[in-house]
Point group: C2
Chain length 360, copies 2
């Protein structure tokens, strides 16, 4: 296995922007997409990062994503937006939705939006972190392509249906909650399968609904919900807000980004944005959340624990390191980027050991 | 052990109302309290039911709960309420808050409230089910007295910090999500301890932070979060909305209902109320959620599963049965109620086998 090459953040950003623009994404939107993808890599969530650019552009080429879709917004009530993303890029339409929500939340104290006819849109915490920088708390949810069975079932009905929220602090980083309601990200099973490793018990079922440690059988079967029926309940909560209330596809009707190259995904999102200043003085909020963080970190520790990290702290440290050293870009992603560059006549500006290896 | 006696719902409701009124709760508020407590018993959540009346009234007697507290509401923005419950009864103040929120959500499409200086207020789903009957979705959270350690820690910092939401359906019952972010309700450990039974591994740590199956050691130690760091993240989310943003006590500063008979609890709640009609036609929503329920229940089943139940379905069945047969009231609760009746000169109207047993 080749270790991923580290590339300067700005270089990757520039390349993603250039490729997206070449594929028909308007320049400002290409900037948004590049920023969102690179931010995921910076925070160590490479499965939501630049590795996804290839499939997005392939779907644009097939007409399954409209690179220049207008956001269609209906407003039946002052503090609510009902958004039709019209098969635009998930990240672009989500940021546009968030920008409108920010204005509403400032005015009313809280505002919410549903988004239908959207796509895979990367890491939820990209949006919630943006909101935190504005002194707001964004609670975000999305449904996604089916992978997970309801408790008692063994068919993939739910996606890994994540929930996220970020809270501004005075610590230099937001408290960032961002979790799939599955026991594990499906990517871990894919990785085990590639490496020929077994997976721990309790992660997945085979296609007949029996517990399995065989990664291939797990991929053919379903991932389990976190904490059994509790994860099922949370996945359901996400599906009802993001899928049912939004008017998007529901559960196993959501299209797969890689498998269904003949129809749009019709993913649904739910954003609920809270302006902290509507509840208390933001300085007072910061003082209170900082004291909470301090108290948690000062708790007596379990014998095997060196440190207590609050949610978001680890990825903040990763981000600091990646900004300094460059973001890891895997050899497969480098190969895909090079092919895209050739197709679009865009200069391939990322160097990588992998590129040397694959040369004759 | 004596099996709990079943008592007619209306009889229990009347008795709770009479006792609360005798303790100084205004008649309308006493009705609200009785309805909330009995509703928990009806739904099989007896730990949030009539068994709590005794401690509420004891705390009223000590001046720790103000039975006639006015709700103090500040509104800095149109769709937000900042509530000070002024140490009133949790259920009463929460219902009053919800009633105001309903008006705001109708107007703005969404509205939110924080509540500080509140108490234990029973089952979250009592409030979310009320909202569902109005065609609304209430997302509710509360912090509570410390029981659970953060991932890596072994001090009780968080309460079991539950999250709930109910969604109206055309099925005769709402989809009801109501879950503690702990791996198990603390009540299960208390029950195991009383019965001298061990608890399963993974539920709790002893006071030194080591995993334990000893129920007594677990009670002296801490309950674990559901799904490890994911449950920690969710408990944190609840603490930040319900504790930090509300201005209530935070984490291990929240008072214990039974242990601290010298100070108010200062519990904090967070309510976010969504009007479905602000997003889509309620009939369309009902059609979509019913189709979702049907699709989930029709999923292929695991070998050991007879039926797939959606969240809320089991407690709905329990409620049907309890309304028909009466609600189980345990012998200890019957004893407490009898003592309260004697103190307040209120006729004890519940018959129970336990009462016969304890007579000479």
């Amino acid at each position: 296995m080749t270790t991923p090459n580290r590339c300067p953040v700005d270089d990757v950003n520039r390349l993603v922007r250039a490729l997206a623009a070449a594929a028909g994404v308007p320049p400002d939107d290409a900037s948004v997409l590049a920023d969102a993808l690179v931010d995921a890599d910076v925070h160590g969530a490479s499965t939501h990062g630049v590795s996804r650019l290839n499939i997005y552009l392939r779907r644009i080429q097939k007409g399954l994503i409209d690179p220049a879709a207008e956001l269609h917004v209906e407003s039946r009530r002052p503090a609510v937006l009902v958004v039709d993303a019209r098969n635009g890029l998930g990240q672009v339409q989500a940021v546009k939705t968030l920008e409108r929500l920010l204005l509403l939340a400032r005015e009313y104290g809280i505002a919410a939006a549903t988004v239908r006819r959207s796509q895979h849109f990367g890491a939820l915490s990209y949006y919630s972190n943006r909101a935190a920088r504005e002194g707001m708390i964004l609670l975000a949810m999305t449904n996604c392509e089916p992978a997970m069975s309801p408790e008692g079932g063994c068919e993939a009905f739910f996606g890994t249906n994540p929930i996220a929220a970020s809270f501004p602090t005075g610590k230099g980083f937001p408290v960032k909650i961002d979790l799939a309601t599955s026991i594990i990200a499906r990517g871990n099973i894919i990785a085990a399968n590639k490496a020929g490793r077994p997976i721990p018990e309790g992660w997945a079922l085979d296609p007949e609904g029996r517990p399995t440690t065989d990664a291939a059988a797990a991929l053919a079967g379903t991932v389990l919900t976190m904490a059994g029926h509790k994860g099922f309940a949370l996945a359901m909560l996400v599906e009802l807000f993001a899928g049912v209330l939004s008017g998007a596809a529901i559960g196993n009707e959501v299209g797969s980004m890689y498998k269904h190259m003949d129809r749009p995904q019709d993913v649904g999102h739910y954003f609920c944005l809270v302006d902290i200043a509507a509840f208390m003085d933001p300085g007072e909020f910061r003082r209170r959340i900082d004291a909470t963080i301090d108290a948690i970190k000062a708790c007596r520790r379990r014998p095997d624990a060196h440190e207590i990290l609050v949610p978001g702290e680890r990825s903040y440290r990763t981000a600091e390191e990646n900004r300094r050293l460059g973001i890891p870009v895997g050899p497969e992603t480098v190969r895909e980027l090079r092919t895209l560059c050739q197709e679009y006549g865009t200069p391939m500006t990322l160097e990588s050991p992998a590129s040397k290896e694959t040369s004759p």
